[in-house]
């Protein structure tokens, strides 16, 4: 299965996302921001980083990139799209997901191993989790505070569109402890924490078993491969 990983100028975690795809058993395909061609990929990952410096608003300039036009169109047709951190911000700026992401309430960049609760398993990116499962995924961002107006929040909660919630500790002031969202159809998922940094023992978050042994993030990528095979 071919999973596209988009590189914008300023993208940082593209090689990490490619590695994650590979470790899950997929074939990573590099996509370039200026390209409109999606190279027949079966799913797309918008990785983390500081696309275009994250100037103006995080993800705002990237949302205008030619590749996004194709992705928005393909997403409407059901293409699985995962936005991680800056990728989530790009999805929000592209209006593929509602609301906005603003400066962390602590006013600093935050890098930590973060506990999450999986709130929705009916998406191609989360189907290998169990509902309510607790996972630990590294979080690292300066602007991860999720906000939306009261009505949008109500709709998100009512329709079960919250995909992940922060557990035990809200690192950035996100409303309703929201760490990640899905769209109505379920094919588009975005979250602030970085599953691609929890895919390889030795380089992931600490667990009680051994240091840096956490690989909870791998399931995002095995999920999408599974759903593509089943589709």
């Amino acid at each position: 299965m071919r999973i596209g990983v988009v590189t914008f100028p300023g993208t940082l975690d593209d090689r990490d996302a490619q590695r994650a795809v590979r470790l899950a058993g997929g074939e990573p395909v590099a996509l370039w921001h200026a390209d409109t061609n999606l190279h027949t990929v079966d799913a797309v990952v918008l990785p983390g980083g500081f696309s275009f410096g994250d100037y103006l608003r995080c993800g705002a300039i990237a949302a205008q990139a030619p590749v996004m036009e194709s992705i928005i169109k393909a997403a409407a047709g059901g293409l699985p799209v995962l936005g991680i951190c800056n990728g989530f911000q790009v999805l929000v700026e592209s209006h593929l997901l509602p609301g906005g992401l603003i400066r962390n309430d602590v006013q600093t960049f935050v890098c930590r191993d973060q506990k999450l609760v999986v709130e929705n398993v009916d998406t191609p990116w989360t189907n290998e989790f169990t509902l309510g499962q607790e996972i630990t995924i590294p979080l690292k961002n300066g602007e991860g505070g999720y906000i939306a107006d009261a009505e949008t929040l109500k709709r998100l909660e009512g329709e079960g569109l919250v995909a992940f919630r922060y557990k035990d500790f809200n690192p950035n002031g996100s409303m309703n402890d929201i760490a990640g969202l899905r769209n109505e159809r379920g094919n588009v998922v975005g979250l602030m924490p970085h599953p691609e940094h929890a895919v390889e023992a030795g380089f992931g978050p600490d667990t009680s078993v051994a240091m840096r042994s956490g690989v909870d993030g791998l399931k995002f990528f095995t999920s999408v491969l599974k759903s593509l095979v089943e589709a």
């Binding site: 205008q64 609301g99 906005g100 603003i102 309430d105 006013q107 107006d149």
Partner: protein, 82 residues
């Protein structure tokens, strides 16, 4: 240099953590007369010629569609400084 100034503020009913942090700091320094602080952006578009009405209309559109995110922000003013 002629410019159009586009000003963008976080929506009134949404959180503004940066404004809150500044407000708290001002209160710690005794500025209790200030009730609240909100922080937005001032974006200057510079021209090397005089600004036209069409430029202002374009700036308004750029402001609403790109310089601000309508979901969380408002364009509160677009002015010319020639």
């Amino acid at each position: 240099m002629p410019k159009i100034i586009v000003e963008v503020m976080p929506k009134a009913d949404l959180l503004d953590p940066a404004g809150k942090a500044v407000n708290n700091a001002l209160h710690r320094n005794g500025h209790n007369e200030i009730a609240n602080v909100r922080i937005g952006k001032r974006i200057e578009l510079h021209f090397d010629r005089a600004v036209t009405e069409a430029d202002v209309a374009a700036a308004q559109k750029i402001g609403e569609e790109f310089l601000s995110n309508a979901v969380i922000e408002d364009v509160v003013s677009v002015t010319i400084e020639n």
